[in-house]
Symmetry: C2
Subunit: 374 residues, 2 copies
């Protein structure tokens, strides 16, 4: 797919290895602020810009540039201080600017991975909220970031404000399994159906009205969205290279009000669950996304609206759970700003790219799990 931004992004103009000297040194503290440029000014971009230019902005960060293909039109609608930042409709302007970090927040139809690659090549660190960029190109881009001496962070790509990426990346346990609600949109739709007893169409309209989804939430409901996020978690938690296409998915789009009534009789409800467990001895990964019966007392049933939730089981520490808002501009901005703060804290950090292996065998739902699938 040729992106709209492609019209104004010419790769040849991007200097390779145009390193900036933006490391910090012992004792430098918070004196020099990290310059941030925003690529894409949609729902997420707007939420990010308001935070970074607002009264509570992290002191280590300074938003200086906003790049969007409709920059002039969008700038005209902003008030101060956003209006007087540097706005441009050329990606090259951002690449050749003095920003230290580029936040990639373009729409799903754009070639986001090309932008991330170009930004790293231009010597910028990058924060992205795109699950597709990381699920499909994460290892290559992280290797590039390491070579460039720059960072690529993606907390918001999985779980929004739910801190699961750093929980898995920095875990001191050996992960055995993860079960999670990873699509805020699907969860908003399902919990709304549960609440009102309504048809799925009505619940989808409600999720649209609350900006948890675009007009077409089929990628969310079908499990495609969650499968990309689950592939990322497998890389972080198991060190496995998994393609989203290898994840068995069962659609949530055919759930009916009577399914909820039946679940309620069993003292539970229905949620879209993403599951992965890895048997290291047999190198067998079981991985799927499906609408499942969950008991009323589980943290999954208690995830309402766009909440995400995850239960990770470790060989030594047992269960660790995290929950948080998984959709909406403000939630995504929370994840992305956490990444920005981490990069600003140590701009000279070298983050080694992960070493991933492929599982020998991949399976989907087991018979026992199929019995709980809806």
């Amino acid at each position: 797919m040729r992106g709209v931004l492609g019209l104004w992004y010419s790769r040849s103009e991007v200097g390779l290895n145009s390193f900036q000297t933006s490391g910090n040194s012992p004792g430098s503290g918070h004196t020099s602020r990290c310059r941030v440029g925003l690529l894409g000014f949609g729902t997420v971009g707007l939420a990010l810009a308001r935070r970074l230019a607002g009264p509570d902005a992290p002191p280590s960060l300074q938003l200086t540039h906003i790049t969007d293909r409709r920059a002039r039109e969008k700038q005209a609608r902003q008030s101060e201080p956003l209006a007087s930042l540097t706005w441009t409709d050329r990606f090259d302007d951002l690449l050749t600017s003095d920003v230290d970090i580029i936040v990639e927040a373009v729409s799903a139809s754009e070639p986001a991975s090309d932008y991330v690659r170009a930004a790293l090549l231009a010597g910028k660190s990058v924060v992205t909220a795109s699950k597709l960029v990381i699920a499909h190109h994460g290892p290559a881009l992280l290797t590039l970031a390491e070579r460039q001496g720059r960072q690529l962070r993606f907390e918001a790509a999985v779980g929004g404000a739910m801190p699961i990426v750093r929980a898995l990346a920095d875990s001191g346990d050996r992960l055995l399994s993860v079960d999670a609600i990873l699509s805020g949109t699907s969860n908003a739709v399902l919990s709304r159906m549960d609440e009102l007893g309504c048809e799925i169409e009505e619940a989808i309209a409600d999720a649209c009205a609350r900006s948890y989804t675009d007009a077409d939430p089929s990628a969310d409901l079908d499990g495609v969205d969650a499968s990309a996020k689950l592939a990322i978690l497998c890389a972080l938690g198991f060190g496995l290279r998994v393609s989203p296409a290898q994840v068995e998915i069962r659609t949530t789009s055919r759930i009916r009000p009577e399914d909820f009534r039946a679940a309620r009789l069993r003292n539970g409800t229905i949620r879209q669950i993403a599951h992965a467990d890895f048997d290291r001895e047999r190198s067998l990964l079981s991985i799927w996304v499906a609408p499942m019966f969950v008991s009323r007392a589980s943290i999954f049933a208690q995830a309402i609206g766009p909440q995400n939730a995850a239960v990770m089981v470790g060989a030594f520490g047992g269960e660790v759970a995290v929950t948080g808002a998984g959709a909406g501009g403000d939630a995504i901005a929370v994840g992305a700003i956490g990444d920005l703060v981490a990069i600003a804290r140590d701009r000279a950090a070298i983050v080694p790219a992960p070493v991933l292996v492929e599982p020998k065998n991949i399976s989907g739902l087991s018979d026992r799990q199929l019995a709980e699938a809806v």
Copy 2:
């Protein structure tokens, strides 16, 4: 209090600023392992040593030294590969060794902060599981670590395997409040009383038998343990310098079986809750630890045994929750190994010390909260 280790630790022998050259460089990947020395070989030290010398040890870490005042006796009881590591009863041997990181896991009666300071001065990075060290000396020690170009990490000091330290330290939100179960011991005692309807003495004996506590759990039950952890969370989440002594605490040690029966009639139970909220405009911190009524559906009621749980409310992302095992050697080891892996990933990282301010006003339980206190 003069520690037992003090007998064999002579400060004058420790070289100031004896830096090691242990930075990594782009592309170095996982080739050079980070050398780890263990200070203290009790419950936590044993769990750590087994993990680090076991078949699933993180490839970036190599345990080389174990220091304990009864080193010979304890070494004699170990089998391979632990038995053939370098064991010593002299802290100085560890300080002058080639280890990159020292894990401080001495018992609560030792002058742990002196050891941490000496280790940093000797050019080592330090991982500690001691809430008291961080609550009382965290800012000074983190400043020393930054000056030394070394790291001081303490994920296991709060919540054990529950990843709350990094969730707050790297949060992209503005924290409004935190409610948490922070004492695994107290929670094991309370949930046991709830389960069996027994007196507190019987529940304490059970917690001792499961190694969640020493023979005397009064610091846990009285709320002293949780108040130190809560002070750490206030530094991380609000940027506030709070002394544990400023936290209003109400003891959990007088809870009786009939309190649980009364709570059950209201469809809930009793948990030791640590609470802090900060009104930035008035610079008013409300902070307390007390046994509270919690509804059966809350994640607090569902925390059983040594589980910890925390709900953090942010101004932008709303509620984020984390749960995990908060007591026991394996749980503490999970938190500490996460820190070790993070340090090994980027040994050259400079982590700026936090800038903390004191709240103008501190209050305890409000009237509304008092009504729910047990």
